[in-house]
């Protein structure tokens, strides 16, 4: 189940890029949404993060992971737009 969903999400991302159907901003947004969904699928189906009541630090570890991920993704997007002078 998880495997199928994650593969579908991956193919979907590839397809929206290949199809050239969306504007750049829309494309970026769609891919980001797909990526977040992918994270949720991975955590739920492969890491089983909903299934055990682990110690408190599980939550904080996950939160830290999200903070790092957010910083890296947001930072990279910010850096790679080069102050808005680039077309992508």
């Amino acid at each position: 189940m998880g495997l199928v969903v994650s593969i579908v999400l991956t193919l979907l991302a590839l397809w929206v890029v290949q199809a050239h159907a969306l504007s750049h901003a829309m494309l970026l947004a769609v891919i980001l949404v797909l990526a977040v969904l992918q994270i949720v699928v991975q955590l739920a189906f492969f890491m089983h993060f909903t299934e055990s009541a682990g110690p408190r630090y599980h939550v904080s570890a996950l939160a830290l992971g999200f903070v790092f991920t957010f910083c890296i993704v947001a930072g990279s997007i910010w850096i790679m737009t080069f102050g808005g002078t680039q077309p992508y």
């Binding site: 630090y57 830290l64 992971g65 903070v67 790092f68 910083c71 890296i72 930072g75 990279s76 910010w78 850096i79 790679m80 080069f82 102050g83 808005g84 002078t85 992508y88």
Partner: protein, 657 residues
Amino acid sequence: MALPGYVGNAPTSFFVTGDPMIYASDVLIVLTVIGIVFVLTYYKKWGWLWREWLTTVDHKKIGIMYLIAALLMLFRGGTDAVLMRTQLALPNMHFLEAEHYDQIFTTHGTIMILFMAMPLVFAMMNIAVPLQIGARDVAFPYLNAISFWLFFFGALLLNLSFVIGGSPDGGWTSYPPLVENPTDPGPGENFYLLALQISGIGSMATGINFLVTILKMRAPGMTLMRMPLFCWSILATSILIIFSFPALTIALALVLIDRLFDAHFFTMLQGGNPMMYINLFWVWGHPEVYIVVLPAFGIFSEVIATFSRKRTFGYSSMVASMLAIAVISYLVWLHHFFTMGAGPGVNTFFAISTMCVGIPTGVKVFNWLFTMYQGRIRMTVPMLWSIGFIPTFAIGGATGVMLAVAPADYQYHNSYFLIAHFHQTLIGGVVYGMFAGLYYWWPKMFGFILNERIGRWAFWFFNIGFYVCFLPQYQLGFMGMTRRIYVYPAGMGWTALNLISTIGAYLMAVGFVLIVVDILYSIRYGERDVTGDPWDGRTLEWSLPSPAPHYNFARIPTVTARDAWWVMKGERKRGEVKRELEPLEPIHMPNNSGRPFILSVLFFLGGFGLVFEWYWLAIPSGIGVMVCLLLRSLEYNMDHYIPVSEIKRTEAALGRS
């Protein structure tokens, strides 16, 4: 070296030819291999090697193997450094050709960071962490063996490029588009990519392993805030490894796909963007420098507390600053490429976050100073390295803040000022820390103390050589000398400073040789450590005999305070002896396994096949890797119990009850 004539990625000559130095190393390698094979056969040690070392899952032995491998790599990387400094000693030198110089600075950087600093850190974690937290092994001993062997064969793959196929020459950062096929043909760059990828899997596994070990395997009573600071530093490092290595894996994988399968992730004309590589590389690259330096901070905390006979000043602020460094280190990566031109807003943000990381580091420096304040300081060799570290790191930190000023960085960028800065922090931080740890934990590893007198000579040669080598480089940077140039004309005013710098490099090399001499001398004549506590230590590893039995603790200790062993010793001295009366129980231990070694050999063969695009070799090796993983999943006989009678015998032989 004569330009090797490559067609695509296939070398016309399999072995590197044309350079007398490489022929000399060929001969040396063959002689060394023959020598090792001869000694092992003559003394009938093959079985011993396999049973005791190649198949071991014991964290102490894995630590020792990491240590030996890292020291060999330090020798290789150091030789590269000495060759480079020799080439730069005088203007217009013809010691090395441009091509050869490029290869040497690439392998120097790659080896020193990934195959020297990382394994040296892993050596210290493997040796000390389980003992310090009162555990019998790491959480996943089998995975630990895999980590080591993947690192080992990754390092072997990179070093092989020296004699087979040609070394990588794109710099240790390996930026595209330079390293793409058209501008960098030949297998050298593939060696770099695959060696890092293979050892990277091992590093990732080590990060997970030690995070779980520290969170799950602590002795009863050892709360997080009672842990030795070294364990805290490893916890922070493990978190950094887990979150940063994926970025490197992705960046390298994309370059590999570009090179092997003609993709265009980083080719501008085909819609790719090489700057994304730079971004991803430093998303890993900056946390990486904290991955290697935080454990060094941990070692300094242990060493300074022990040899000042005081507990660490400001324990909780030490922990807080360590974690602050770990988190902030994810917000600074752009300072490695201010000049890429991401805009003033971006540069300002990353400049300020970079300056912020200096604050927790400063807190730690003051804490170390206050730990020493009014302490009874013993100037042993580990303590010398720790005290030597403080000024080097202060200078390195100060120049780091200078580099963090984005507009000024346009002047310093890729100049010798930068070279001097990061050597000052990486050598002054990591190498000094690891040498302190080496001398500090050596008796725990091998049961004898390294000779202090030779150790002092080594320290002073290294420390003085270090300043002589790198202080002139700051000046050279201001005078316009850029990194990675292999020759310079006479009239630039650089000659004297370069010559001084080279002399410093030779002094450091003498220091390294003296450490090796110290080890060889002490194997024979070193003072034996019969108490298990030669330094009057504070943490649990010193409560064990040296070297520790393979199950570490016959009885798992119960911890009541920080510096657990110091407290226990105090109780015993005051006569409040709580005799450990609880009966011994059989100890549950993991079985040795040859599979981590075989798995890594298959990874090595697969990597070697991909380097030359020999899919007939790469694909079967990949299948072999899968089979190994499958066999492990189907394995049930993985552990054994040590009976009480055997524990009693071992403990009695070590003079303990």
